[in-house]
């Protein structure tokens, strides 16, 4: 996949971030239909830029070709790309949403959503980046919009039609 800079949206458009993809910049970003996946955002209020990634699994087990897909490869990559834009780790804040358990029957033994969230929390702690807000778990799918240019606002639309803000 390489760099995603070529995929930046046209002015006024929102970048749709599919499973395992990420974007870095100040344009609006969105992940739709998060189930056990997690939409993670980083935001630098000083520079009004941020990054968003659609993480599917906690561990890459050594795979390097889709860094955005796994928590353990996505976080270092986003921090590196943000650093290239001048963001310092100490001025970044993180938010996340998703990690639901969609099926009661399959969920008990697998619970990928919860494992994703736990891995992200642990990695952020290691990097000393505050996870200021999160909405994870439950049984419902969510879509998430991230607006770096608008104070890093993160909005959630849940499968039942209700909305919220992180």
């Amino acid at each position: 996949m390489g760099t995603m800079a070529d995929l930046n949206p046209l002015p006024g458009q929102t970048a749709m971030i599919g499973i395992g993809e990420y974007r870095v910049g100040s344009f609006p970003m969105m992940t739709i239909g998060l189930g056990s996946c997690i939409g993670l955002t980083f935001y630098d209020d000083r520079l009004k830029v941020g990054a968003m990634v659609h993480i599917m699994l906690p561990d890459s087990a050594g795979r390097k070709d889709r860094p955005g897909k796994y928590a353990d490869t996505a976080i270092p990559l986003l921090l590196k790309e943000l650093s290239a834009l001048g963001c310092k780790n100490r001025s970044l804040i993180a938010k996340m949403a998703g990690g639901a358990s969609m099926f009661e029957y399959f969920g008990a033994n697998l619970n990928i959503g919860e494992r994703n969230a736990e891995k992200i929390r642990a990695l952020l702690k290691e990097c000393n980046i505050p996870l200021v807000k999160e909405e994870v778990g439950g049984k419902m799918g969510r879509s998430v919009t991230f607006l770096p240019a608008n104070g890093g606002k993160v909005s959630i639309r849940r499968a039942d039609g209700t909305t919220g803000e992180l």
Binding site: I19, I32, G33, S36, R63, A100, F103, E104, S143
Partner: protein
């Protein structure tokens, strides 16, 4: 795995036979004609799943494939929320479209999914001489993308591309549009293709 034209044709034929049996059972349950599309096979990169299924509300009844294979992937009965309400209304003798789904609807959808997927797998097992048993059903009433992505994350193997076979089943009288989707793991797919090829060669 990449499928050759012959292999894709073989899988399509398998889907055809399985879906024909499922269509017959749906038709019996509804007491109405059910039309079936030609099965479509789509190889989808997971990052592109959103162009195939989005935020729309859908009921999905998922079954893990078991039997001669440990974790074979999933077979899913997919029905949009509107069609799901029309389906359960037809079954339960109700007419109100603008109502929330309740436990009765959920039981009815699980039951329909169970009957159709069993018919689908029975027919394919008979043809292949290879038994794929469905796990107990699991229902999700949610955003289609969220449900499908969760199933893909749960597959026993870490995949970047999924092969979906889907066959649309439509009941025009009741305006019900549904799909049977098969999401096989690579090992299952390889086994199915091998059996179909042997069969066509007359082995």
């Amino acid at each position: 795995m990449k499928l050759s034209t012959v292999q894709a044709d073989a899988i399509q034929e398998l889907g055809n036979i399985g879906a024909a049996h499922a269509a017959t059972t749906l038709s019996q349950m509804l007491g109405s004609t059910v039309q079936m599309s030609v099965p479509a096979i789509k190889a989808i990169d997971i990052s592109e799943l959103g162009t195939y299924m989005g935020e729309e509300s859908a009921a999905m009844v998922a079954f893990e494939l078991q039997g001669e294979i440990q974790h074979g992937g999933y077979v899913i009965f997919y029905i949009s929320k509107e069609s799901a309400i029309r389906l359960t209304n037809t079954m339960l003798g109700m007419t109100d479209m603008d109502r929330p789904m309740n436990e009765m609807d959920e039981s009815a959808l699980i039951e329909v999914g169970n009957i159709m997927v069993s018919a689908f797998l029975d027919a394919t097992a008979e043809l292949l001489g290879f038994i794929m048993l469905p796990s107990p059903p699991a229902l999700s009433l949610d955003m289609a993308h969220a449900t499908m992505a969760t199933l893909i994350a749960q597959l026993g193997e870490d995949v970047d591309e999924v092969l979906l076979f889907s066959t649309e089943l439509v009941c025009e009288e009741h305006k019900i549009d549904s799909d049977i989707i098969m999401l096989p793991e690579a090992s299952t797919l390889a086994r199915i293709v091998e059996l179909m090829e042997n069969m066509m060669k007359g082995v």
